[in-house]
């Protein structure tokens, strides 16, 4: 028998934010392919991927607990999520620079920054429609 309160809690629309980031990665990759060919597209894809993966981990980890009885667990989960995001970002950047150095750093960092800044749309993307 689960917690009856937990069943009433609505899950936030975090998936919309991640989907918006995925769209930005795809647009940056398409733009790179159009403007500079396959190498530039791969650079943009890698930049977007380096931003998207740690963000997805952060979202998954940060919302593992919900509800008033889990306040301390929510905070712990957020701190772990941030530490994991930081570490994952460092690891992914290192992996990219060591294994497949981006041929176009401007597109790589452009796609990275554009994907990160989708968070600025968070208040709009995570808003629930009003019922009135």
């Amino acid at each position: 028998m689960g917690n009856p309160l937990a069943a009433k809690l609505k899950r936030p629309r975090i998936l919309r934010l991640l989907l918006a980031q995925l769209v930005v990665v795809c647009v940056a990759t398409g733009l790179g392919a159009y403007m500079g060919g396959m190498d530039v597209a791969v650079s943009a894809l890698l930049g977007g991927g380096v931003a998207l993966l740690p963000n997805a981990y952060f979202a998954w980890r940060a919302f593992r607990f919900q509800g008033a009885q889990h306040t301390r667990n929510i905070i712990k989960s957020f701190y772990r999520a941030e530490a994991g995001k930081f570490g994952l970002t460092v690891v992914l950047f290192t992996l990219v620079f060591v294994t497949v150095p981006p041929s176009n750093p401007a597109f790589f960092f452009g796609a990275y920054v554009a994907t990160l800044f989708v968070h600025w749309l968070g208040p709009w993307l995570l808003k629930r429609p009003s019922r009135t």
């Binding site: 809690l9 609505k10 936030p12 975090i14 380096v50 931003a51 740690p54 963000n55 952060f58 979202a59 940060a62 919302f63 919900q66 509800g67 008033a68 306040t71 929510i74 905070i75 957020f78 701190y79 941030e82 995001k85 930081f86 970002t89 460092v90 950047f93 290192t94 620079f97 060591v98 150095p101 750093p105 960092f109 990275y112 920054v113 990160l116 800044f117 968070h119 600025w120 968070g122 208040p123 995570l126």
Partner: protein, 82 residues
């Protein structure tokens, strides 16, 4: 000359990563404290506060993450060394 550039780059990289992590840590500490305060005052607002905290966390660490990326770029593909 090249050794000097490499040394200065190493200092810059450590400052970028270290100060970025410090700023994020201070911001997250304040954010978590405020969340606990708000949750203690109005427990029914916790789901909303959690979403707001997620949004602010994304804004908070964006700049330091960019700094980390640039620092690692300087480490592995230093553009100042010909």
């Amino acid at each position: 000359m090249e050794a000097q550039i490499l040394g200065m780059t190493a200092i810059a990289v450590s400052l970028l990563i270290g100060l970025g992590a410090l700023g994020t840590a201070i911001g997250f500490g304040i954010l978590g404290g405020k969340f606990l305060e708000g949750a203690a005052r109005q427990p029914e607002m916790i789901p909303m506060l959690q979403v707001k905290m997620f949004i602010v966390a994304g804004l908070l660490d964006a700049v330091s993450m960019i700094g980390v990326g640039i620092a690692l770029f300087f480490t592995f593909a230093n553009p100042f060394v010909g």
